[in-house]
């Protein structure tokens, strides 16, 4: 069941104006259709232009291979989220609540929200498009993940593996870089309760 969580603004870079976006818990057929029909062909076309994976990383198209639809439909352990604006899915997130535990020493073994996948639409990405459209989808989704963590009494604890191109993003947000995960072959980041409070609270005023 798709639940409307609330409306928040995204910045339309084309106009410089804020536009109202809706955040949803749960995906429906319209999100799957947007992904299949609008996201995937663009990502796949772009990925095919790169002769190898390293260059593809620089072109910001790594998740062309992500099977969002397959993941979201098949693996019911995921909580799914979408950001919609201008009648289109602008961002998607899968959160795993069942199988991950915190790794930072101060909170090791405690429950957390593990962000399995997070992505904004290809036309919103600065490195991907010459004229990226909306800014803020990733931020809205991460703040939603922290909100979910609080709602579940996980106190804002969130963990994720970052794609290489986004590693510089998580430090400023307050995540701790826990190092390279040899199993996932990616950098692992985690947010503590204190970091989550800082992330959401200090900009409320």
């Amino acid at each position: 069941m798709k639940e409307h969580l609330g409306d928040r603004d995204l910045l339309n870079r084309w106009t410089g104006e804020y536009e109202r976006a809706s955040i949803y818990h749960g995906l429906d057929e319209s999100n799957f259709r947007d992904f299949e029909a609008q996201w995937k062909p663009v990502l796949e076309r772009r990925a095919a232009e790169f002769p190898n994976w390293t260059e593809a990383a620089d072109g910001n198209v790594q998740d062309a291979h992500w099977d969002w639809v397959g993941n979201a439909k098949a693996e019911s352990r995921y909580d799914t989220f979408a950001v919609e604006c201008d009648g289109m899915t602008q961002g998607l997130m899968l959160v795993d609540l069942a199988t991950r535990f915190a790794r930072i020493q101060s909170q090791r073994g405690l429950d957390l929200c593990y962000v399995e996948l997070i992505s904004s639409a290809p036309w919103n990405r600065p490195k991907f498009s010459d004229r990226p459209k909306y800014r803020g989808t990733g931020c809205a989704l991460l703040a939603t993940a922290v909100s979910l963590s609080r709602e579940l009494e996980f106190k804002g604890r969130v963990g994720l593996h970052s794609l290489p191109e986004s590693e510089s993003w998580y430090g400023p947000l307050g995540f701790t870089n826990c190092g390279f995960d040899d199993v996932k072959k990616m950098q692992y980041f985690e947010m503590t309760e204190e970091q989550a409070n800082q992330f959401l609270a200090d900009r409320e005023a």
Partner: protein, 164 residues
Amino acid sequence: MKLHFSNDWMRKAIARYPDVETEAGRPLESPALADEIARGKVAIMPTRNVVQLRIALGALVHQLRQRDGLTLEELAVRADVSEDELRQVETNSSYTARPRIIYQLSSFFGVSLNNLSQLSGETHVVGRQLYNDAMKFAAHSDALTPLTEAQQTLLNEFVAILNR
């Protein structure tokens, strides 16, 4: 659920953070991961408890391998199992390990076949105590760092429980 951030926060966050879009997750360029997804599409979703047991199994195999100083490839050769399947057992909690690899790993590490089978989620009945012990072990496992003394102790205790 409700959102714990206001629209004012949202606007300030857009202005404050670097103009890099957030991406996280797993790139699916490797055949093993693509295969995982393919399996995910057709698999019946295991229950939360089965998934958790498989996490404990993955952590156990990973730590026993670390303890013995073996790479995935080396363990695969020495235990006579497929490296890809071994990787699935260590990292993919949706993966149903085949009886053969459980048998081979049980022989190689000297861990009870019956209890290892229970951790793989293949059996329908799992002892409550084993489940609790497995959860305790999984919760204190960390794939990011070499085995610490404390983890080594937990590993030894868990193996002793499995062989009790």
